[in-house]
Symmetry: C2
Subunit: 317 residues, 2 copies
């Protein structure tokens, strides 16, 4: 049994790789929902959607979000009707949000709605939201308190962040299946997602951090930081804001409570050798996933890293 924790774009690539090398009934994907937003009156779960589209082969490779070949005719008309224009939903994409919203309004929990959507899209692996309860990542910034989408999409993460909070997290329960799959896992992988705003909300849901601490499986994280900077997005800035270095050492710091293996890019081999220790094994490989081969290779590497018994000394690949 393999469990992967992921956020959106970057993490989805590794999930696609895992999907190629792990039997679907052996794979559980646990997804951040702190980015969820109500938009046009619809419940939008951007990270879940990226994972679903990615696993269903529908994800736009060009945009990294939404459906390949989607159009934006409804969006254009929404702008004419006076809707704020900064968050885009495609015409095909809308069907997902409409279907999810109808299910949620009918009283179905997000986990069940996600499972139904996944099944309709032909996905056989298990995709779980971190929680059925609403958790909202809120950023107190120089400008205002912003939701994650306001910060990330509207402000293009060009505003200084003072604090990140996960509103509702303290009352949220892990979605059914989350704690169980972590406990039963033979390998647990943290995808190369933003440690603060993608993995952070999941660790803030009471019970998940403890489940990781006590998991029998080895836990490997793929660093979203390569060569001292985030591969994409504001991970570096947000890690600094947390008081962590924006390096692979910062990633190790973010996950220090439970991490067994840090998978760093070869660009960070020198720092990796310094960071390698008795309690944290740091291994290097190519972590930039451009092709499906890259995704598959990194997924295999991560699983191998989890399977390898804890050893001292630099492992490499």
């Amino acid at each position: 049994m393999v469990v992967v924790f992921t956020g959106g774009t970057g993490g989805t690539k590794l999930v696609q790789g895992l999907q190629q090398v792990v039997a679907p009934e052996e794979l559980t994907v646990i997804v951040n929902t702190g980015d969820d937003i109500e938009w046009w009156g619809l419940f939008v779960s951007p990270d879940i959607d990226s994972v679903l589209y990615g696993m269903a082969g529908l994800l736009s490779t060009e945009r990294g979000w939404g459906v390949e070949g989607d159009s934006f005719r409804c969006l254009e008309r929404m702008k004419r009707l006076g809707q704020a224009p900064w968050f885009s939903l495609g015409d095909l994409d809308l069907a997902t949000h409409l279907t999810r919203t109808a299910m949620l309004r009918a009283g179905k929990p997000l986990g069940e709605a996600t499972a139904e959507l996944a099944a309709k899209m032909g996905i056989r692996a298990r995709v779980l939201p971190m929680s059925d309860d609403r958790v909202s990542t809120m950023l107190d910034t120089a400008k205002d308190t912003l939701t994650f989408q306001e910060y990330f999409v509207r402000e293009r993460h060009q505003v200084k962040v003072h604090t990140v909070r996960f509103e509702g997290a303290e009352r949220a329960r892990p979605a059914p299946g989350v704690l169980e799959s972590v406990a039963a896992a033979d390998a647990i992988v943290l995808a190369p997602s933003n440690p603060v705003t993608s993995i952070g909300p999941m660790l803030a849901v009471p019970g998940i951090l403890d489940a990781l601490r006590t998991a029998k499986a080895s836990i490997a994280a793929v660093s979203p930081i390569v060569g001292g900077a985030a591969v994409s997005g504001p991970a570096g800035e947000l890690m600094k804001m947390m008081g962590w270095p924006s390096t692979i050492a910062g990633v190790a710091r973010a996950y220090e409570d439970f991490l067994d293996v840090l998978i760093a890019d070869r660009a960070d081999e020198v720092e990796a050798s310094h960071l390698n220790s008795k309690t944290l094994r740091v291994v290097c490989t190519s972590t930039i996933m451009k092709s499906m081969d890259d995704k598959r290779a990194l997924a295999r590497f991560a699983l191998d890293a989890c399977a390898t018994p804890q050893i001292t000394g630099f492992a490499g690949d």
Copy 2:
């Protein structure tokens, strides 16, 4: 002040004509909402939408509903996600339903939501729903009890109807402006809509029938029946079900409580001359609206008919 009562497709053509010959601040359009349907979790008001699109120059002339040049990509995807396929919402059309639904869910009454949508579409005349309250036209049929859209769209009105009921009508109040505009009107026109399921729901809202009975203005109805049959849709069948002839006499019967002038098509001149009486003037003209000129001419004819003092004898044009 001109008030027009209308349903969807057919009535919208006359509304378009009135829009050409009446100043916008002088025109109030009161629209049936008994056909409203919740679809994909959205509040859809098909008759209001036809009127709005018709008045905004957006209506598909080919389909008679929805937006000209619309696409159905979201619909195709909704089918893939398992949604019932029989009711079509276009990608551009969706923006209207999303915007309305968001307003209603935020607690705005339908009348205000309609006014906002109309303003965004550049419509300066007043468009009012018959009521802010939910009234559902229900048809007890040989098959089952159906909503209007199930009967009309899904079953293509090919099922025998036993009774028509307007669920919620007894508790509904006319929308703000409805009774006032009827009382203040100088001319009141009933568009060539289905007397049973388009005009009928409006007359079932307590207060509206009385307002028509006591209106100071003359009330003219354009017959939706031409040559003994409905121009489109199931008006003839439904009138028979009501025990009325499916002729212009049946239309006169449907509106006998308040009608001053019945505008019939020239195809019905003989019956019109029989029907003409001291209490009901029946006048004939061409009522089939193919071009904007036709629509304008019929609108002018209807206004003239309202303006002409009650006279005995066949008026014609």
